[in-house]
């Protein structure tokens, strides 16, 4: 009886096409972001990822002005941002955080100005916090392509990217093309972020990137296992958030982020409980 009710609760929203599209989108975004997130948190690139998300605004503004849809702008925007950020960080000596901060705020400001000057019809709230219920079939298709490209590249270059991330000088001595690997990672990170903007938005994309990965790191011992658990946490956060937003009439992007935060809190508490020193019997 309980099982039947549970299945009905899961199936009921799927009678709407927009919910089916939203569910597929949430799974792709949740898994893609959280897998990349495992690298991002260990490479201390959270701020960089945040800058990537915010730097999309002017590109989206100009693209929409010329009649492109937001999802079709994803890949070119991501590549431009990744190359630009990588180049500026490498070629300035003002510090990585400072460079990122300058690009982050300048691009975000430029985006708002362009939206105003070009009089572009963009719903800013949707862009900042996501509007997964509005994704079209084309958006789902584009996200599927991005999902496949990002995870395939990560799969093929997994060992090289891991070596470079762990020991950059050792990788260089071993004759790996570290400049290529650096830009390759920046590009797939930017692709996953830009591809997920419609799911969780510019502001909250960071939560889906970092929180499942951080929670997974707390409850696992090895990196490969942390990636798998992070993907699971990311997928569960997205889908659970979507269902909660449907049944309780909540904004979907923020609800997904809050579910991810809940998983992090549970992971943190379970880690604390498991690592408590055991009392030795006298």
């Amino acid at each position: 009886m309980v099982n039947t009710v549970g299945i009905e609760l899961l199936i009921e929203p799927l009678k709407y096409d927009f919910m089916v599209r939203a569910l597929i989108t949430s799974i792709f975004s949740g898994i893609m972001l959280s897998v990349l997130g495992s690298f991002t948190i260990n490479k201390n690139m959270g701020f960089m990822a945040d800058a990537m998300a915010h730097a999309t605004l002017p590109i989206i503004a100009v693209g929409v002005f010329f009649g492109f849809s937001i999802s079709s702008l994803g890949a070119p925007a991501a590549i431009v941002i990744a190359l630009l950020l990588g180049f500026i960080i490498k070629n300035t000596n003002i510090g990585e955080d400072t460079s990122i901060g300058i690009i982050f705020s300048s691009f975000f400001a430029l985006g708002f100005v362009l939206i105003s000057v070009l009089d572009v019809s963009i719903n800013l709230e949707d862009l900042l916090f996501g509007q997964i219920l509005a994704v079209s079939t084309l958006d789902v298709f584009v996200l599927f392509i991005l999902f496949t490209i990002v995870l395939s590249i990560l799969f093929i270059f997994f060992k090289q990217i891991l070596f470079y991330s762990f020991d950059p000088i050792g990788a260089q001595v071993r004759d790996l093309n570290v400049t290529f690997l650096n830009y390759l990672f920046l590009i797939i990170l930017a692709l996953s972020i830009v591809g997920s903007l419609q799911t969780v938005g510019i502001v909250l994309v960071l939560s889906m990137l970092l929180i499942p990965a951080a929670a997974a790191k707390l409850v696992t011992e090895t990196f490969v296992k942390s990636i798998k658990i992070s993907a699971l946490f990311g997928g569960v956060s997205s889908v659970t958030g979507l269902y909660l937003s449907y049944y309780f009439n909540l904004p979907s992007g923020p609800t997904m982020s809050l579910v991810a935060s809940g998983i992090f809190v549970l992971s943190f508490l379970s880690k604390k409980l498991m690592s408590r020193p055991k009392l030795i019997n006298p």
């Binding site: 490479k43 093929i156 270059f157 060992k159 762990f166 071993r174 004759d175 011992e221 090895t222 990196f223």
Partner: protein, 205 residues
């Protein structure tokens, strides 16, 4: 030698090749602080990095690789720590894991950057024993160090550098007071009485 920094002048060849073309011969053990310890990697994963090349596109480990990794780890006495998180190891054990990585690579020339900077005296002896074993296998080992204590016991030859070559040769012969002063400049007072076999009154010996 590692092909990272371009030569400012002069020339350098390794087995008749330019450093960039001789990278396959070079095994590198980096300084501890050059590694990103955030990654919770297993000892096995770190040692297996010795097998990664620019055409490595398979994310999975082959069966033959496992034997090479295990063989290298047994040579440094850490086979029982194969699946341990590298962050759980001591400084000396980490140096041994990184040495095992160069063995996995099959490098003929090992470059060790400040190999003893993060290890205690006991662990330093363990690492030196392994280095001597590797030397017996016919490998060339170059170690960059700022620590000249007992240097004559550890190394066959020293190259003393301070922006230029101050001396080169058997450490018991070339480490004269003049050379130490040339290397350490105004700080040489601390090392004034340092000689091979005599570490001065400040050392507590």
């Amino acid at each position: 030698m590692a092909g990272i920094t371009p030569l400012s002048h002069g020339s350098l060849t390794i087995k008749g090749l330019k450093p960039n073309d001789a990278k396959t011969f070079i095994g590198y053990v980096p300084q501890n602080n050059q590694i990103n310890w955030n990654f919770p990697l297993s000892v096995r994963q770190v040692v297996e990095m010795g097998l990664i090349k620019k055409n490595t596109f398979n994310p999975f480990s082959r069966g033959t690789n496992k034997h090479i990794v295990e063989d290298s780890l047994s040579k440094v006495g850490l086979l029982d720590r194969l699946d341990e998180n590298i962050n759980n190891l001591s400084g000396g054990q980490i140096q041994r894991v990184l040495l095992a990585r160069t063995l996995t690579q099959g490098a003929d020339i090992l470059l060790l950057d400040e190999a003893f900077s993060a290890v205690d005296v006991g662990a330093e002896e363990d690492v030196m024993k392994i280095i001597n074993d590797i030397k017996q296998d016919g490998k060339t080992i170059l170690i960059a160090t700022h620590d000249i204590n007992n240097i004559e016991d550890k190394f066959d030859e020293v190259l003393c550098l301070n922006r230029h070559c101050c001396a080169f040769g058997d450490p018991s012969e070339v480490l004269t007071e003049d050379v130490i002063e040339e290397m350490y400049g105004s700080h040489n007072q601390i090392l004034r009485e340092h000689r091979p076999g005599n570490h001065g009154e400040h050392s507590g010996n």
